[in-house]
């Protein structure tokens, strides 16, 4: 028995060195049980349910140790080696302009507001740069890369090309959507104007018809409505019409009218219009005044036809 007990002790010691969490828990629980037993024996525990309340977990904060460690660890390097700057963020120009300036004391940035947080970091970096550049110049460290200095960059040229392409793509998409929006607006506006004009015309027509009917039925014997309409028509609708006629019919409409309007294009334009009336290009003076005929005219003998007769003309036509 005794021997066995010894063995157990030996094992116990070994276990303690490589104690896993499970074993530790087990041992603490046994320890607590033992304590409970002791307390009960002493009469400290009251009868009834005694719930074990975990004391709040204490977090290690060995301030002395930290300071000591820092003192040992710190290397007294000159600033040029470290290049570190500690500073609060630079003044937020945008927020000041908008008047949304947070109190100077409240330096805590809300980590959930993405934009504000990133702007906070950005301004901190800016303040550092503004502070450090003069120090660097003093220390003789260059900050500006000369134009002919070609060296390997952290991101390859390929990567930068990808980035550029993406930015350009974003830009074009934005522009396209803007254009599409504007076009839609324009179309809507054009449609609105069209509807208004149609309604106005209908109203006028209605008014005119009622006025005419009234006259017909003899309720009024003044013919004011005719002139009245003209006056108003001339006055107001001119402006409107001009505005409309500027756009005029669509180019498409125009083309279709030209091609198919009035029964389609004739093979030639044989219309008696002002242009065709004024067109005297087909006037042959010789033929018209009969100059230079075969040896001149025989006085006023026969009726020298400047224009051959119908049958001759027909023959000529069929020949050519």
């Amino acid at each position: 028995h005794h021997h066995h007990h010894h063995n157990h002790n030996h094992n116990h010691n070994h276990n303690h060195n490589n104690c896993t969490k499970k074993w530790r828990l087990f041992f603490t629980r046994i320890y607590y049980l033992f304590q409970l037993q002791e307390a009960f024996a002493k009469g400290l525990l009251k009868p009834g349910m005694n719930i074990l309340v975990n004391e709040p977990k204490k977090h290690v904060n060995n301030v002395e140790g930290l300071k000591h460690c820092l003192a040992n660890f710190r290397k007294g390097l000159p600033w040029v080696e470290r290049l570190d700057v500690t500073n609060p963020p630079a003044a937020d120009v945008v927020a000041q302009a908008e008047g949304k300036l947070p109190t100077a004391d409240n330096r805590d940035v809300n980590a959930d507001d993405d934009f504000q947080r990133e702007m906070f970091f950005y301004r901190q970096a800016q303040a550092t740069v503004l502070e450090a550049l003069p120090l660097l110049n003093k220390a003789g460290v260059a900050t500006k890369r000369p134009e002919d200095y070609f060296a390997e960059m952290a991101k390859s040229d390929q990567q930068m090309q990808k980035i550029r392409k993406k930015l350009i793509a974003k830009q074009t998409i934005l522009e396209k959507s803007e254009k599409a929006k504007k076009l839609r607006e324009q179309r809507k506006f054009g449609k609105k104007v069209q509807i208004e004009v149609i309604q106005k015309r209908q109203k006028e027509k209605r008014a005119m018809m009622t006025a005419v009917k009234k006259y017909q039925k003899g309720m009024t014997d003044k013919l004011d409505f005719l002139e009245g309409d003209q006056k108003t028509a001339q006055g107001s609708s001119q402006a409107n019409k001009k505005a409309l006629n500027k756009k005029g019919p669509n180019a498409k409409r125009k083309y279709k009218d030209q091609k198919f309007g009035f029964g389609g294009k004739k093979s030639g334009k044989k219309w008696n219009t002002k242009e065709s009336h004024n067109d005297v290009s087909s006037f042959r003076a010789k033929v018209a005044h009969g100059k230079g005929g075969p040896g001149g005219k025989k006085g006023k003998g026969g009726k020298h036809n400047k224009r051959p007769g119908k049958s001759v003309r027909k023959k000529m036509k069929s020949r050519s």
């Binding site: 290690v60 301030v63 500690t86 550092t128």
Partner: protein
């Protein structure tokens, strides 16, 4: 990483193509420069020549089971820090103090070790190798250099400016972390792989009890910046006195382990569901309860208007027929209008 041994103060064999520059301002090489200017050949700058005194080397490596994002983050850190060295993945079976031996073999005095657990959580150890302090962080919100939204670029191996929040000076544990970051992340002056220009800045900020890391490129002297990346968030877990071993100096009370976090979320959703169920049960109980009869109608006198009662008149005889007025001698409308006009 190149494996040839670099001579102290001499030019590395590959460098002739990498750097073509006229180096400004190094007094010791001034006579050579003049000759070269005459010949118009650009010669690489002899950067170190015995000036490199701050022998800081960082070992960056990871354990097994990391995912692509972590791997890229490590590569990016190696790109950003020319004074870093790489090593193969460490088996997780080995204890952490083996890392100290690895560092010694590689002749490094700082170490950044990435450990991935459950293929989800990434922990980062940063330590000063032989004796110094070490810290363990949980890394979150990793964005690598390759992200297309980070449009900045910098020279590979250029020295960074380090920017710290003033909160780092207020607490002793933050002060220790600040010193650790400074020594690890700042590239030594005249390091042979470094570039002589300072064109980017690392920022470390404390927000929400975490440390936020950002990397910006300095475009103009008036401090206009563009982000280069990478970016990540460090959540401090513990600070140890030794390197990967030793007594705990500081434990972060705000740290919630990712397992606990996930557990909390699960419990929250479970609690919400249970609450809904309870409410439903209550409602069904209410419905099935015996209800008292309503005696009085609450809406009875809503439409009651305070008017006096009229006497009820009952008609015994039918009413008289109304006289029809039809004026047949009215003039026609037309005539009427004419007459009205006249």
């Amino acid at each position: 990483m190149s494996t040839f041994k670099r001579k102290r103060g001499g030019k590395a064999p590959g460098d002739n193509k990498a750097k073509k520059a006229r180096f400004i301002g190094n007094a010791s090489s001034a006579p050579e420069d003049e000759q070269e200017k005459k010949n118009e050949i650009s010669v690489p700058a002899p950067v170190s020549k015995g000036k490199w005194t701050n022998k800081e080397r960082v070992l960056i490596f990871s354990s097994r089971g990391i995912n692509f994002r972590t791997r890229h983050l490590m590569q990016d850190l190696r790109t950003m820090m020319p004074h870093s060295k790489a090593d193969t993945k460490m088996d997780r079976k080995d204890k952490l103090f083996v890392i100290n031996e690895v560092c010694e073999i590689k002749n490094c005095n700082k170490c950044l070790f990435f450990e991935a657990k459950k293929k989800q959580d990434l922990y980062m150890w940063i330590s000063n190798s032989p004796h110094g302090p070490s810290a363990k962080f949980l890394v979150q919100n990793i964005h690598t250099l390759a992200e297309l939204k980070m449009t900045g670029n910098c020279l590979k191996g250029s020295r960074p400016l380090l920017s710290f929040d003033p909160k780092f000076d207020k607490e002793p544990h933050y002060a220790l972390l600040k010193e650790l970051f400074i020594q690890t992340f700042s590239t030594p002056h005249y390091h042979p792989k470094s570039q002589p220009f300072v064109d980017h800045v690392f920022t470390f900020t404390i927000a929400d009890n975490r440390i936020w890391f950002r990397n910006y490129q300095i475009i103009e002297e008036d401090a206009s910046l563009v982000e280069i990346g990478p970016r990540f968030v460090l959540n401090l877990i513990k600070i140890f006195q030794g390197s990967f071993v030793g007594p705990t100096l500081y434990e972060n009370p705000f740290f919630l382990s990712p397992n606990m976090h996930r557990r909390q979320i699960r419990l929250a959703t479970a609690a919400r569901l249970r609450e809904k169920q309870i409410v439903k049960e209550l409602q069904s109980i209410k419905k099935s309860e015996a209800k008292d009869d309503v005696v009085r109608d609450v809406t009875a006198d809503v439409f009651r208007t305070p008017a006096e009662e009229k006497p009820v008149h009952i008609e015994t005889e039918p009413p008289e027929p109304k006289a029809v007025k039809k004026n047949k001698h009215k003039a026609f409308k037309r005539q009427r209008m004419q007459m009205a006009r006249k």
